[in-house]
Every structure is written in structure tokens, then in C-alpha cells.
């Protein structure tokens, strides 16, 4: 088991690897993507690049690997500007992992793809093949070496793309959203692979828990500029800063309340209880339902599922468990064998064609759902199919856009909107049609924390029967009362969400265990815990004193301890303070030097460092 981030040894920082100075970049369309970037990345560092969608992160890593060239300023790699022959040589030592593995796997088979890089490095056929096979072995795909990429699962593709880079033995890995759309099991495998990488690592992700486990340094980007450069611990500890940059994921760390007390505002449990009257038929009833694809693949076997009106259900399971096929059957896109009743009526061929009027679905990739040139047309698309009048279309459009906080976006082009806005637009398109059952497929995928929090609050407010398909256990916990676990095409558990989270065995069975997330979450919660605290420290300050009968004032450094008061994080109320690390914080100084700065702290229980009182007076006041 791995140690958590804060216990990791500091990176083997050697010399400066990347040096970016006064870097500016403007896209041909005129959009200023980067402005005045000054950044140094040392060899062996693990750096997280965070910021909201559109803040310039991807543009920056494209600069780092020379795919884009700076308009002004310079990018230096190993001391030389990244251009010309040096750029050609450097590209072979800088690996860039794209968000979508299909962009990267262009080979006919995995081995063809993995060998591509080493061959370009000048290796002859057999050594290149050996390097490729070794890399595939590292990512646990040696048994798929001669398989075509389009026959792999998403997680396997992601690892294969990484193998293509590892085969080149890069000095640097640049990762763009490496864990998006991975199930927890695959995510853990991927994380282990990255932790094993010994070179320099620059990672873009909205998943700060993942970054906390992986990286030591965090650079925050905002509107094309570097807003802050922290240690990872300092970034996650300062909730106010996180919120200022739209990165506050702390809502994920708050405990769920199961509807018993005043829990997080996003909790869905205030919604009306499902109608469970024995007289009312369930909205959806599947009995011994099975589906087999034309090629013979058995996707669903003996599925029994009942969804009552008003229920909020989560459907979880590893990639390939049959969730998508089940959704396709519920939507009437596929027809299997067995009983399927909708509101008590058997779903015949005719009813199947009309299920779309009652069941709405928000896709994982909103791009699959948005085909119109404007937001207004997009929302009206489904309503026109319903045959709604123009006035009604306008009314429902305004209502739906207001619900998802997109008022005034009617004329905007969906293609030019951010990921979070597009996701909310897709939701608005479905909500405008007033579905009886709303299906959400991985709603949090690819969203930044601010977008996630907003989406979560919107969904929590909806009064609709909900079927949530997600690997995101926080969303599952926050939005559902009941959890259905699928495994190999069958429902293996159907239990309350509370019971699901109490049973760690279920998570392990389905590759849904979130061990590192729980560990990181707890660690970050501790870091974010703040309380008023007085202790001693020493620093330069101005005070009157005497030198050989002459009394005067000047800046003076001496072994002198005095009290001051500031808010800081604490490892736990009953545990001793640990101030061994240097931390940036804001506090009052006698010399009037305000602002965030760091300085050595005394270890409070060290008698040599205590003053008159001999101990620090910790006063927790639960300022969370």
C-alpha cells in the first residue's frame, strides 16, 4: 500500500528542466491563450497544472512539448530554446498523453503503435519491438500486443497510450486529464503506473484528489496566466483560494448525512419519497431481462429491476458490466428478451417507439447530444419532435435554461461553450421535454470542480425520477437513495446507497474501491481544518533595544521568541502540532510586514523553543 502524498519523499529535484520566460501565445482566431508565463520546472518534479476549463492549461503543455511555438518569450528545455533540431530531439524525450486515447493510438495493432516512438528514436526493428513489448508489459497489456486498438476497452486504450510513451523512456511525461472516464479500478492501476514513473511529470486534471496523490507542486492557471504556484499541500489546504479559482472540490469531502440532519446543501435527500404504494405500478419493471448482441456477446442476463416513481437510483459497475446496454434497452434502442413494463404497460414494439417521450437521457459526452448551431435550436429540437407549439417551446426553453443557469445563452453556439456549460445545456435539452425518468450517464466526467458543484446542486433540486450511472462515488452518495450494482451483465446487488457504502466488499468486487480517494480525502480534510492558534516564532522585527548604553530602533534578528496569532491547519484536535514544514500564511507582524510569507516555526513541545509559558496554547474554534 502506498503512502499518502504528504508522506512521500520530496522529489529528486536536480537542475532546471523547463524554463518558460515571458511566454505569450495567441491562437490564430485571436484568442489570447497564454500571457506572461514565467515558470521553471526542475528535473524530477511532479507538477499539477490546475485551473478552470479554458484557463490555458492544455495550451501550456502543448508549448512544453513544442506542438505550439511561443509568439513571444521563450520555452527552454534543458537550457536550450525548444526549436529547430533541439525541438526534434526533445520531442523524443517528452511524452504527451492526450485526454482521448483514440487520438493517440493510430497504429494498426498495439505493438505497431507502441513501436512507433522507439522507431522514430532511431532504434532498429527488433530493439524497438522489445522496448514496445516491455512497455506493454509495464501497463499489463502484454497479452493484447497484437490486438487492434478499437477492440480494447477504454481503460485498456488509456494504458496502451501510456505504453506508447513509456516505450520511448521519456524524461518528461505531460498528462492531459489522465483519469477521465476511467472506472475506479482502472484509475487505481493508472495511478500506480504514474507513481512508478521516475521522471518529471506535469499533469492536468480537475480531479484534485488524484493530483494530491500524484503531485507535490501545483500551478494554478487563470485566464492564461499563472495565478499561483503552491505546494500541493498548500493548494488543497486553502479552501478560500480554491474557491477563488473555481477549484474548490471540498464539497466532496463533506460527509453525507443520509437525510438525518442539516448536511451539505447538495444532498438530494430532501426530494419527495418514492411512491411505494402497492396499488401503483412501478415506473419501470424489468423481469428476467436478457440481451445478446448480434455477434453473440451476452450483455445482459436475468436482469430484474424495478424503479418506482420519484426514486433516485444509482447504477454502478465496472466498465463493461452492461450498464450502457441496460440503458439502451430502457430507452427502447435495443430490445432484449424478458419482461419490460413501463408504468404497468408491456413495452411492445409500438410503445418502444414512444418511450423517448417519457425517458430522457443526458449522455456522458455532451458532444454526442448537441448537433444544432445554437443553444435555442438545441433546446427546441426535442420539443419540436414532441409537436409542442411555438409559444410553449419558448416558455419551456426559458424555463429549462433558467433551471440550468444558462439564461441568455439562446444565441450562443454550443460548440464554443465550455465543457460544464455544454453539460448543463444537454441537461436543459432533456429537462425541457419534461421526462418522467431522467437518466444521467457519468454527469461529472470532464467537469471542473466549480462545474461539478453547480451541476450537483441543479440535479439535487430536480423533482424527477432519476437513474444515475456513475463511477463517481460522491455523486452516487449525494444523489441517490438506492444503488444497483451490475457485474458481468447481471445485477449482483440492489441495496440502499447507505448500505452500499458500508460494504467495502462490494466495492472491491466491482473494482469500485476508492482506497486512495478515501485516504486523500481524509488527509485533505485534516489540512483544511483551521483553528485559531497562538504559538511562538522568531523572525526579523523592529523593536527598541539597547547597545552599550545607547537605546535605538532598527531591524534586528536575534534568538527571540514571541507570541502571535493566526489561523492554520491542524492534524487533529487531540494530536500534537507539527510545524516542521514551512508554510505560507498570513499573520500580524510587529514590523508591519503583512502578507503571505513563510518562516521557520518552532516545534511547540520542544522545551528549548518555548517562551515564558513553555507551551503553545491551542484554541480550536472549529472554523471550517
Amino acid at each position: 500500500m502506498r503512502e499518502e502524498n504528504s508522506h512521500l519523499p520530496p522529489p529528486q529535484v536536480k537542475d532546471t528542466l523547463f524554463c518558460l520566460s515571458s511566454l505569450n501565445y495567441r491562437y490564430p482566431g485571436g484568442i489570447q491563450a497564454l500571457s506572461g508565463i514565467n515558470l521553471e520546472i526542475a528535473s524530477g518534479e511532479r507538477l499539477a497544472l490546475v485551473g478552470q476549463n479554458g484557463s490555458g492549461k492544455t495550451t501550456l503543455i502543448k508549448q512544453l512539448c513544442g506542438l505550439l511555438l511561443p509568439a513571444d518569450g521563450a520555452v527552454r528545455f534543458k537550457g536550450e530554446p525548444l526549436q529547430g533540431d533541439h525541438l526534434d530531439r526533445s520531442r523524443l524525450k517528452i511524452g504527451l498523453l492526450f485526454q482521448d486515447p483514440d487520438d493517440q493510438l493510430f497504429g494498426h495493432t498495439l505493438i505497431d503503435d507502441v513501436v512507433f516512438g522507439p522507431s522514430n528514436q532511431g532504434l532498429s526493428r527488433e530493439p524497438a519491438r522489445q522496448a514496445g513489448l516491455l512497455a506493454l508489459e509495464r501497463v499489463h497489456l502484454a497479452d493484447k500486443a497484437y490486438k487492434a486498438p478499437h477492440h480494447l476497452s477504454y481503460g485498456q486504450k488509456k494504458r496502451a497510450a501510456l505504453a506508447g510513451l513509456l516505450a520511448m523512456q521519456p524524461d518528461v511525461l505531460l498528462l492531459d486529464e489522465p483519469t477521465t472516464n476511467l472506472d475506479p479500478g482502472q484509475e487505481q492501476v493508472f495511478l500506480d503506473l504514474l507513481l512508478d514513473f521516475t521522471g518529471t511529470l506535469v499533469c492536468i486534471s480537475h480531479d484534485l484528489l488524484f493530483l494530491y496523490e500524484l503531485c507535490q507542486r501545483a500551478v494554478v492557471m487563470e485566464k492564461g496566466r499563472i495565478a499561483h504556484d503552491y505546494t500541493m499541500n498548500d493548494l488543497v489546504a486553502q479552501r478560500s483560494q480554491l474557491r477563488a479559482y473555481g477549484l474548490d472540490f471540498s464539497f466532496r469531502l463533506e460527509p453525507a448525512t443520509n437525510g438525518t440532519d442539516d448536511g451539505p446543501s447538495v444532498c438530494a435527500r430532501q426530494n419527495s419519497a418514492p411512491s411505494t404504494s402497492p396499488m401503483t405500478p412501478p415506473m419501470i419493471a424489468l423481469g428476467n431481462y436478457a440481451f445478446r448482441y448480434p455477434d453473440g456477446t451476452r450483455a445482459l442476463t436475468g436482469v430484474d429491476l424495478s424503479i418506482a416513481t420519484g426514486e433516485r437510483i444509482a447504477l454502478v459497475g465496472e466498465n463493461g458490466a452492461g450498464k450502457s446496454t441496460l440503458l439502451a434497452c430502457l430507452l427502447g434502442l435495443q430490445q432484449g428478451r424478458g419482461t419490460y413494463l413501463f408504468e404497468g404497460q408491456p413495452v411492445t414494439r409500438r410503445l418502444r417507439r414512444h418511450l423517448w417521450r417519457n425517458i430522457g437521457m443526458v449522455f456522458q459526452d455532451s458532444g454526442d447530444q448537441l448537433v444544432c448551431p445554437s443553444v435555442g435550436e438545441e433546446v427546441a429540437f426535442g420539443l419540436k419532435q414532441l409537436g409542442v407549439s411555438k409559444n410553449e417551446i419558448r416558455r419551456r426553453m426559458e424555463e429549462a435554461l433558467s433551471l440550468v443557469r444558462l439564461e441568455g445563452f439562446e444565441a450562443r453556439v454550443p460548440l464554443h461553450m465550455s465543457g460544464g456549460e455544454r453539460k448543463r445545456l444537454a441537461l436543459a435539452c432533456v429537462l425541457a421535454m419534461s421526462p418522467k425518468l431522467l437518466i444521467l450517464d457519468e454527469p461529472s466526467a470532464g467537469l471542473d470542480p466549480q462545474g461539478e458543484e453547480l451541476l450537483l446542486s441543479i440535479i439535487a433540486e430536480l423533482d424527477v425520477t432519476l437513474l444515475l450511472v456513475s463511477h463517481d462515488m460522491f455523486f452516487v452518495n449525494a444523489l441517490s437513495r438506492r444503488t444497483v450494482v451490475m457485474h458481468q451483465g447481471a445485477i449482483c446487488q440492489d441495496l440502499s446507497t447507505e448500505a452500499f457504502f458500508r460494504d467495502p466488499g462490494l466495492g472491491n468486487l466491482n473494482g469500485l474501491a476508492y482506497t486512495f480517494r478515501q485516504r486523500c480525502g481524509e488527509a485533505i480534510r485534516v489540512l483544511q481544518h483551521e483553528h485559531a492558534h497562538s504559538h511562538f516564532h522568531r523572525h526579523l522585527h523592529d523593536h527598541p533595544h539597547e547597545h552599550a548604553w545607547v537605546a535605538h530602533d532598527h531591524l534586528h534578528k536575534h534568538n527571540h521568541a514571541h507570541r502571535h496569532h493566526f489561523l492554520h491547519t491542524h492534524p487533529g484536535e487531540d494530536e500534537p502540532h507539527e510545524h516542521a514544514t514551512r508554510r505560507y500564511h498570513d499573520h500580524y507582524h510587529h514590523d508591519g510586514d503583512h502578507g503571505a510569507h513563510d518562516h521557520d516555526h518552532f516545534v511547540p513541545d520542544d522545551p528549548s523553543m518555548t517562551g515564558e509559558s513553555g507551551e503553545s496554547d491551542s484554541k480550536p474554534d472549529n472554523k471550517k
Binding site: K62, C65, L67, R91, I94, L96, F98, D100, D102, D103, Q104, L105, F106, G107, H108, D112, V115, F116, G117, S119, N120, Q121, R125, A128, D143, K144, A145, Y146, K147, P149, H150, G164, L165, D295, G296, A328, L333, W356, R357, I359, G360, M361, F363, D365, G367, D368, Q369, L370, V371, C372, P373, F381, G382, K384, Q385, L386, L415, C429, V430, M433
Partner: protein
């Protein structure tokens, strides 16, 4: 009993056979029904074979792993391409039905020698069924009449005549198409596609064309899946194709969006290639070596082709 009747002005000397009108339906519907049944059977066979097939061991090369089993797998890819292409042109030069059927027989023999997958061969045949059917249905009714032709006229409809010469001509074309299609599996499936493209490149086909084929082959599936997901996205919001302007507009939006997404993906793929050191060409997949036995094989095959042509001309 067919009756011989006086000839039409346009039909110089053809022999005319009169038949009742209902036999026209029999003559059109029966072949179509047989063809439909055949296609269904072929599809069932293909599906059954695909379903029964266990997942192979992907840790070993699928084609090179069977290299010891067939001379086609061992044959130098350049020699194989040139020989099969030249032989295919010889088949197209055949004019008589009998040599065309002999060519089919030879192609079947080649399939056996190459140990080609029956399911894949049937899939290739399915792909040309429409083409062949069109010939068989249209040509007998449309070929210009020559003296000595035998023509069937149904129920006194002189404008609708079924030419036996047209029928045999269509059958010859169909047989030649089948004979050539059967050779595509030994040509394309006895070496990995990148190696075949490397062979083409060595034969003078521009390198860029080979790379485009390779990337198209890889990304066709990706684009197809994207199109399917987008289509599903429209279906679940109630879109059904109808004969109206709204459908045309929606389909135009759909195609436009698919194009934009595909274009963006090609840019990202190119970026990914450049980031891994791509500078205009893909690394060679295999070391191509031309052995004397490859040339002997090519020579023998071409001699068979010439013999087939001589036989055709002698008939």
C-alpha cells in the same frame, strides 16, 4: 410451348421466344428470392462463425503466427501484389462464361491453399452481391440486340425483351467479379495491412497514400462509433427520419457536426504523431526480402493466367 413470332423492326435477325407474362414474374422473382435466401444464409453463417470463435491469443501475431501454414503468408508481399493484380487483369479480359467459371474454380483453389477464413470470404462476396444482382437483372433487358441473339418476349410486350446473350454476358461479368473478389482475401489477409502497404510503397505507390489508407482504416471505426452515438442522441429526443425539410436540416446539422468533430480529431491525431517524433513517414513494419522461390511462384501463376486467356480465345 414457346412460339416463334415475326421479328420487330429493330431486331434484325434475333430468334424470338414468346412466353406468358406471368413467367416474367417467375424469372425475376425466383432469382431474387434465391439471392435473398443466399444472402440471409451467408449472413447467418458469418454471424455463427463470428459468435463461435473464441477470443484468440492476442499476445502472438495473428498473421505471422500462421506463417508456416500457407505459402501465401510466406510469399514476398510485393511479388504477391503484382502477381495477383496482373492475374486479376487477365481475368477481366476473359470473354466466355466457361473460362470465367474455371477462374472461379482456380480462385477457390487459391483460397484453400491460402487457408483463408470462410467467414471473411463470404463477407467480401456479400459486399458485391448488389453489384452482381444489378448486372443480372438489368443487362438481359438492356443489351442492344445483335443478329443471332435469342430473345424472350413476355405476353406480347415487344418492348420488354429478355436477351439470352445479355444474360450470359451479365453472368460472365458476375463470374469474373466473383473470381477476383475471392482473390482479395489471399491478397489482403495473408499479411498485416501495414506490411501490404509497405509493399505497395516499395512498388512506387506514394508513401502518403499508404499512410492515409492505414489511418483511414484505423479511424473509420472511431468515426462510425461517433456517428452512431450522435444518431442515438437524436433518437432519444424523438428524431425520426421523415420526408420533410426539417429532416434535411437536421441531417445537415448532423453531418456538419460529425465533420467538425472528425476534423478536430484529425488535428489531435496529427499532434499526437508529431509529439512522438513523426516527420513524414511511418517506420517500416517488416524487412522485405525477395527470394527466387517468390519469383518462381509468380511466374507459374501468371503462366496459368495466360493459359486461361488462350483457352478463352480458343472457344
Amino acid at each position: 410451348m414457346p412460339l416463334k413470332v415475326p421479328l420487330d423492326r429493330r431486331m434484325a435477325d434475333p430468334t424470338l421466344i414468346q412466353m406468358p407474362l406471368w413467367q416474367l414474374l417467375v424469372m425475376v422473382i425466383t432469382p431474387l428470392a434465391v439471392l435473398g435466401a443466399g444472402v440471409t444464409l451467408l449472413r447467418w453463417l458469418i454471424r455463427k462463425r463470428s459468435a463461435e470463435k473464441d477470443d484468440p491469443d492476442w499476445s502472438v501475431p495473428q498473421l505471422e503466427g500462421t506463417a508456416g501454414r500457407s505459402p501465401f503468408h510466406r510469399w514476398d508481399v510485393r511479388c504477391k501484389i503484382v502477381t495477383i493484380l496482373v492475374y486479376s487483369f487477365m481475368i477481366t479480359a476473359i470473354q466466355q462464361i466457361t473460362p470465367a467459371f474455371v477462374a472461379i474454380g482456380l480462385s477457390c483453389l487459391v483460397l484453400v491453399v491460402a487457408r483463408a477464413s470462410l467467414a471473411k470470404v463470404l463477407m467480401r462476396l456479400l459486399a458485391i452481391v448488389g453489384f452482381i444482382t444489378m448486372f443480372l437483372l438489368v443487362m438481359p433487358f438492356t443489351v442492344p440486340l445483335h443478329s443471332g441473339d435469342t430473345v424472350i418476349v413476355f405476353g406480347g410486350l415487344n418492348w420488354l425483351h429478355f436477351s439470352m446473350r445479355g444474360f450470359w454476358l451479365a453472368a460472365t461479368i458476375a463470374a469474373k467479379a466473383v473470381a477476383i473478389t475471392l482473390l482479395m482475401e489471399p491478397l489482403l489477409a495473408t499479411a498485416p495491412l501495414p506490411v501490404t502497404l509497405q509493399g505497395l510503397s516499395r512498388l512506387g505507390v506514394p508513401d502518403m497514400a499508404g499512410q492515409m489508407v492505414l489511418l483511414s482504416y484505423r479511424y473509420l471505426n472511431v468515426f462510425r462509433h461517433e456517428a452512431r452515438r450522435m444518431s442515438t442522441g437524436m433518437q432519444v429526443r424523438g428524431f425520426r427520419k421523415r420526408s420533410n425539410v426539417a429532416t434535411v436540416q437536421t441531417m445537415a446539422n448532423f453531418l456538419g457536426m460529425l465533420f467538425v468533430r472528425s476534423f478536430e480529431r484529425t488535428e489531435r491525431v496529427f499532434d499526437a504523431m508529431r509529439a512522438r517524433g513523426y516527420k513524414g513517414h511511418f517506420p517500416d513494419q517488416a524487412e522485405l526480402r525477395l527470394r527466387p522461390v517468390d519469383l518462381v511462384g509468380a511466374g507459374l501463376w501468371l503462366i496459368i493466367g495466360v493459359a486461361l486467356l488462350v483457352y478463352d480465345r480458343m472457344l
